[in-house]
């Protein structure tokens, strides 16, 4: 008898709490960003396709569906770290099969060699190349993501990927990388060089 009472009481309690929890789940539901959007937010949006997907959004969808998070060379370790934080997956080192982390680059068309074939325009994932058929093309440097996709289609190989030079305003305080100019030491210091 007491056993039955116990079972009954516990069942009632379970039912009550279940209802409360169920109500709370509906009533206080938190509308979060869909995971794909959050992943897409982290990806660098170069749209380079090095991950094997035709752009960042498709890769974001793939990650949401369980793909590895270490296939994005432009994002590098920082992106892997953030994706790891978001998805809870282990932050593995960058998958070499998809490329290596490189300095930021921008495409540059050697304009006198351009034949105006528009092939690069079709390849550019962010419409950052201007030009028309039989007209010289040029890259809108500010919009270029450095994805490299325009280089191969060019029939005359007139597109270079140029590393973006660091400006003083965007310097990241890497004191170690400052070249020390020894030759231009002043006369006064040269006098004491032997000391």
């Amino acid at each position: 008898m007491s056993l039955l009472t116990g079972v009954f009481v516990v069942s009632i309690i379970a039912l009550v709490f279940g209802l409360v929890l169920g109500f709370a789940a509906v009533r206080f539901k938190v509308e979060g960003d869909p995971l794909v959007d959050q992943i897409d937010e982290i990806l660098p949006q170069t749209q380079c396709g090095q991950c094997g997907y035709p752009g960042c959004r498709p890769y974001a969808e793939a990650i949401a569906n369980g793909d590895e998070i270490n296939k994005c060379p432009p994002g590098g370790e920082a992106t892997i770290q953030k994706l790891s934080e978001l998805t809870g997956k282990e932050a593995k080192p960058l998958d070499e099969a998809h490329g290596v982390e490189d300095v930021k680059k921008v495409a540059y068309i050697r304009e006198d060699e351009c034949i105006g074939c528009t092939k690069c325009i079709q390849a550019c994932p962010v419409d950052a190349i201007m030009g028309a058929n039989k007209q010289m093309h040029t890259v809108i440097a500010d919009e270029c993501t450095g994805c490299d996709l325009c280089v191969d289609p060019c029939p005359v190989d007139c597109i270079d990927m140029i590393p973006i030079p660091t400006k003083a305003e965007r310097w990241k305080w890497d004191l170690e990388s400052i070249p020390v100019n020894v030759d231009t030491a002043p006369a006064a210091s040269r006098q004491v060089e032997g000391v």
Binding site: P125, T166, L175, P186, S189
Partner: protein, 645 residues
């Protein structure tokens, strides 16, 4: 007068050794002209100006080398006469040393000037006019930040308080000290211009109490000029000369974290800037030189000098007799906030207030960085009341969210925390790096957002174009089908129309009509079969084409009147020709010959009649022959039909 100003205090702060007497004992000297000057195009915060000169041009002292471009900026001026020999990248006077666009002028030593024209009655000019002159003179904040003065002035409305900063709290530096001692009148005259341009209600000149001579000089100058200004003596504590700290010292208020002093009706200018404004307005001289402190125990002749903007640092250090050690630190600015340079050919720029060359024992390199022991000393000296030890942890862990939460952006990088740190941690360096990383992250994020938008726009466009293409194909297919159906309908309707014509023209063509109808029906069947099956069914299309051709032929055969049917016309022509031949053959008999001749000559009508009859006969014969042919072709078409079905 000065005692009326209440001096508040700010939290934290340190008292590093001042060491100002090294350089402030002698009057400001002038140096020999250097051989070359390097004038960077951009020496201020903001956009760079547009070049006005080319290599090879001869320039005079005071000549503008650039002018403000589309996006603003400040001009730079030639500090002496000479020839522009190069406009190219040259090591910058920046902690990074990253080269910037620089105009190199080889000086001719004559020091010839353009004609400077002073502004007439400056105090009666409108503020806008005065600001314009100040901009044209290329004046930027000479205290160190090099923010364009004109921009600062024009951004400030309803100024309640104008603060002239002569605090110079950074150890070693005595530029402002010497300037106030030697040129107090000019500074005061510059202050009057500022007052006039800002319509300021109150003016305070703030000086640290370790500069009694400067305080005395400024008080006298203000008194003799009898202007509305007071000298506030602030206690010596680093960093009381920081803009935010000085405002707190003088008003007790804090500049909001996301705001500017102008939001509070306060504007601060350095004494050097006031002096430059005086020069620009009363003498018409643009900013071409500035006072630079050369100090440190590695210099045999420390002191202050008037240096042309663009003078290589090496030239100044030579004049001060640098006794360099094997690992010499050359610091631009003071020991607390200055930066080291790695190339002595960098030029003096508008913000260069001091060149410090300490000996190894004077400012020893920081020792081994040890673990943070959370002693909290940094927290106690932080003038911005931040938690440097927490910022350090988060900066080390690159935890940017936590850094933002702990107000990293409010750090003024004064160095007080790193100065007291017993573990000798270069805290400010960590913060600078973290700030740079956060800035880069923001830029990258913005770039990524744009790239995403562009990518998505492109995807949408491609999708749209694909849809449009599909739509076009579909329409074309529909049109084709419609045309086909119309034609088939027309073909159906044809027999009735044409049979009436036929009955009128020719009554005895039933057989051919039937044949044609059969052919048409079959063609229609074929067409229907075709439309029912896949569009790209070649065979069906071939069959249809064949059927169409046959139907056409049938139609042609049936109606000689078909207008656009060449073949029919040709066939008719052939038939006519045959008929003629036949007629000629008939008339080729002797009788006919006679008749012909007679008809030609006498009885045209009869001959004509005969000829017509003959022609008709010939036509009929031709038709018969045609029908014969037709029959054959129908069988062929039937065979084609059976093939297609």
């Amino acid at each position: 007068m000065a005692s009326a100003i209440k001096i508040w205090s700010f939290p934290g702060g340190v008292h590093p050794p001042e060491r100002k007497t090294l350089a402030n004992q002698t009057a400001t000297a002038t140096t020999e002209l250097p051989e070359k000057v390097y004038v960077p195009v951009k020496q201020h915060i903001g956009a760079e100006g547009q070049l006005l000169v080319q290599p090879g041009d001869t320039v005079l002292r005071g000549q503008a080398l650039t002018q403000p471009g589309m996006s603003g900026g400040l001009p730079v001026h030639a500090p002496s006469s000479g020839t522009v020999i190069n406009i190219a990248e040259h090591t910058s006077n920046h902690p990074s040393g990253i080269p910037t666009l620089t105009i190199t002028i080889k000086l001719d030593g004559k020091h010839e000037s353009i004609e400077f024209t002073a502004v007439e009655n400056p105090l009666e000019q409108s503020p806008q006019e005065l600001i314009k002159y100040i901009r044209e003179a290329g004046i930027a904040g000479l205290g160190g930040a090099a923010y364009p003065t004109a921009q600062k002035l024009s951004q400030t409305q309803n100024t309640e308080l104008l603060i002239i900063n002569g605090v110079e709290c950074e150890p070693y530096i005595v530029s402002d000290d010497r300037l106030m001692r030697e040129h107090a009148e000019e500074i005061v005259s510059g202050i009057t211009i500022l007052q006039s341009a800002l319509q300021a209600q109150q003016t305070i000149v703030a000086i640290e109490d370790n500069k009694p001579e400067a305080i005395q000089a400024m008080r006298q100058a203000i008194e003799s000029a009898s202007i509305e200004a007071a000298v506030a003596v602030v206690p010596t504590k680093y960093p009381s000369g920081g803009e935010k700290q000085l405002i707190q010292l003088l008003t007790g208020k804090e500049v909001p974290s996301n705001g500017y002093p102008s939001d509070m009706g306060i504007l601060m200018q350095n004494v050097g800037t006031a002096y430059a404004i005086h020069e620009a307005i009363y003498l018409g001289k643009p900013l071409m030189e500035r006072i630079v402190t050369l100090t440190g125990e590695a210099l045999q002749k420390p002191g202050t000098v008037w240096a042309l903007l663009g003078t290589p640092v090496s030239h100044l250090l030579d004049s001060a007799s640098l006794q360099a050690s094997s690992k010499q630190k050359v610091i631009i600015g003071g020991p607390m906030m200055g930066y080291t340079i790695s190339d002595l050919e960098v030029p003096v720029v508008k913000s260069t207030n001091c060149i410090l060359c300490p000996t190894e024992s004077e400012l020893p390199a920081t020792g081994h960085e040890m673990a943070c022991i959370r002693c909290g000393q940094c927290e106690q000296v932080c003038p911005a009341s931040l938690l440097p030890q927490q910022l350090y942890w988060y900066a080390k862990a690159s935890d940017h969210d936590a850094l933002k939460q702990h107000h990293l952006k409010d750090c003024i990088e004064c160095g007080a925390c790193a100065y007291v740190c017993p573990s000798e941690i270069p805290l400010v360096h960590y913060y600078r790096k973290a700030k740079a990383e956060i800035r880069e992250e923001l830029i990258e994020q913005q770039k990524a957002d744009i790239a995403r938008q562009r990518f998505e726009a492109r995807q949408a466009r491609l999708e749209r174009e694909k849809q449009a293409r599909l739509e076009k194909h579909k329409k074309a297919a529909e049109a084709r089908q419609a045309a086909l159906a119309a034609r088939a309908a027309a073909a159906e309707a044809d027999p009735t129309e044409q049979s009436t014509a036929d009955t009128a023209a020719n009554n005895g063509e039933k057989q051919s009509k039937v044949a044609a109808a059969i052919a048409r029906a079959k063609a229609k069947n074929a067409a229907q079969a075709e439309s029912a099956t896949a569009e790209d069914d070649k065979k069906a299309r071939v069959a249809e084409a064949v059927a169409r051709a046959k139907a056409k032929k049938a139609a042609q055969a049936e109606s000689a009147t078909a207008e656009d049917d060449k073949k029919a016309r040709v066939a008719e022509a052939v038939a006519r020709a045959k008929a003629k031949k036949a007629a000629q053959a008939e008339s080729a008999t002797p009788e006919d010959d006679k008749a012909k001749q007679s008809s030609q000559q006498s009885d045209n009508a009869e001959a004509e009649k005969k000829r017509r009859v003959a022609a008709a006969v010939a036509r009929a014969k031709a038709k018969k022959a045609e029908q014969q042919k037709q029959q054959n072709s129908v069988t062929t078409s039937e065979r084609g039909d059976s093939e297609s079905s």
